[in-house]
Symmetry: C2
Subunit: 388 residues, 2 copies
């Protein structure tokens, strides 16, 4: 079990990716802490929330339909209770509308002092959810840290607490971003040790087919396609789905805009492939509305406020006979390991976010022979990396 002191030692490594702000910028409800007195604000039996900006450096320029970037804003969070520390994280890709500033403002408003115990997850997370309407990544950072803390207090990993067999964890997809045919071929060859690829489409022109043809020129791996709402016409989209089916694609995410659910339902009814909701799914309350429109849902912690709601979404989707996948943003092994806890219960996992960054700060879930490998450590199963 890792003490708060260990975390701060890690957190103060200014060499880590060159972006750590140093421990003196570690915010908390009690004001800023200095590196010299890390336990100053700790009161016995009380949870202490603190946080630190930490941007994620992408290994490669990341291109979606409509945007590209080289880093993702992030905030690392800790919740400490009597020397036991739970780690959490918020990752803020720009299209979700959150930023370091908005997450820090949210976290500044969180007061855990009225709760007797981190075990009161239902009440604490309802309170956190009620602070603002949105800020799902900020809420997820609290949820993840609390789950890590509770798991450590229990002494069990969450996959075990949830009653899952870690041997059932699936392979993770590895994402091939939109790029030139030659770059796509090279990236695909580099990803030959993965058992399933994820290919980003949705440019709504012949380049979509070229992307797939480039992958297929060098690989026979199964492919999951994410159209990111890119296709504009249901007939075109269905034609694409059927063509993709012939190319060995196994599912298509979000073929059209979340504002075009009638068209998506039309596609799903006719499609040979499962049609999965990504942008159309945010919170638990969305799931019943997606029943009959999509074949399944892609759960991401940063969209749905964290592990507790993710587990509820998974069980609700199953009760509605819907497929389930678990996805991610670019995240460290903190949030990736959190999401991986429910992976033994999903149909597909797309948890490569930690593999896409150059400055991970945790050891956690691994990928072995393409398959997610959960460990038996308590909570999220993560340990801060000490690069000293």
């Amino acid at each position: 079990m890792n003490s708060r002191r260990d975390f701060l030692k890690t957190a103060s490594l200014s060499t880590m990716g060159g972006m750590f702000f140093g421990a003196s910028s570690f915010g908390s409800l009690s004001g800023l802490r200095s590196d010299e007195t890390p336990l100053q604000t700790t009161k016995p039996g009380r949870m202490n929330l603190s946080w630190k900006p930490y941007d994620l450096a992408l290994r490669h320029v990341f291109t979606l339909a409509g945007s590209s970037r080289t880093s993702t804003q992030g905030i690392q969070v800790e919740i400490e209770l009597d020397g036991v520390v739970g780690y959490g994280e918020a990752s803020m890709p720009p299209y979700l509308g959150e930023s370091k500033a908005s997450v820090i403002e949210f976290l500044s408003r969180v007061d855990l002092s009225t709760f007797k115990s981190p075990f009161e997850l239902e009440d604490i997370l309802n309170y956190v959810d009620g602070i603002t309407e949105n800020n799902t990544a900020a809420k997820a950072s609290i949820d993840i840290a609390l789950h890590d803390l509770v798991g450590k207090l229990i002494g069990q990993p969450w996959h075990k607490i949830w009653g899952l067999d870690k041997e059932k964890a699936p392979s993770t997809m590895f994402t091939i971003g939109i790029d030139t045919p030659e770059v796509v071929k090279t990236k695909t060859q580099e990803a030959s040790h993965f058992n399933i690829l994820k290919v980003k489409l949705g440019r709504n022109d012949k380049s979509d087919r070229e992307m797939i043809e480039s992958v297929r020129a060098v690989s026979n791996q199964p492919i999951a396609v994410d159209a990111n709402q890119g296709w504009k016409d249901k007939f075109y989209a269905l034609d694409m789905v059927e063509w993709l089916h012939e190319q060995g694609v196994v599912l298509v995410e979000q073929p059209m805009s979340k504002k075009q659910h009638d068209d998506i339902a039309w596609i799903t009814e006719r499609s040979s492939l499962p049609i999965m909701a990504d942008e159309s799914l945010q919170r638990l309350s969305d799931v019943p509305k997606l029943h009959g429109i999509f074949s399944g849902v892609n759960i991401k912690l940063m969209k749905c406020t964290g592990m507790r709601e993710a587990w509820k979404i998974l069980n609700l989707a199953r009760a509605l006979q819907m497929k389930v996948m678990v996805g991610c943003m670019t995240e460290t092994s903190c949030a990736i390991s959190a999401a991986a806890q429910l992976s033994p219960a999903v149909d597909w996992a797309d948890l490569d976010g930690n593999l896409l960054i150059a400055n991970d700060i945790y050891d956690g879930v691994k990928v072995v022979d393409g398959k997610l490998q959960l460990n038996d450590r308590p909570g999220l199963g993560i340990v801060p990396l000490n690069k000293n």
Copy 2:
């Protein structure tokens, strides 16, 4: 933590309610065990399932619309792993279609030897559920024993594992059965320390109103009404609901047959009171079908195969904005304490089954000032009563 040896000591008490069959009738996969060698069949790291018939002696004759009885058939179950014992129970009121014989036959078919760990609840319970189509009480007995075992191995009660605050546990209803006005008045007066009463109606004639008037002659406590599918006409049923509303009734369960969902939806739409599904709800897969027909659901472990599915039903109903109550059969404090673990998350609890029997064999959840009082013991929080 209770060892298997402690249980057998308890189990062998032939004085207990006069119905215990003696330890030599304790069945298991490995055949019958003798009292002298209780650990004979135990192999390290392997779960050992055993069971014992144990009928529940009712304190009073129990009358529903259409039947009355003085005892309920039951089976007590144990799952032991390396000296740690989880307790479970099947209770078989006749209208559910199970009996001691059918439960024993089911349990004889359960082989836990292929599972590495009781933590694999999802896989184990899916396997158990797949053995037969029905046998929900038999399945619940396995589920409850596994939850007790896993909670003990973790060292935490399930309300904590589920993230609930035990201080939020509600009052329990206390059931007033169908009887003569004088008996009803006496029983109601005896129940003055409860904060809410449950009154069984559904005889479809003026005796329903007389029941309520008898209670109201001596008590102003809130009342929950269970019509047990007894009313035959939707106009009559809605009139009754509105009259009951005026009498301080707070909810009505199952006003009409589960075959008359159109009529029930019509009542729910017009009713001043929440209309709760009881007979209409059995399994998780029923919940989406009840949305729009009932205001909420009454979850009972013996109907839904146990704690894991109960927790899923609760969360699914919440996601559909439905009310939730948790109910019971006549059960010992084993199954009652199991159901009580989720009570902090429900709107109403009807967990008086252990109070209605004369031969309880566990110390577990208590009723204090009418309110359910959960304890901090691991698992279900129960300890076998040793009456020696």
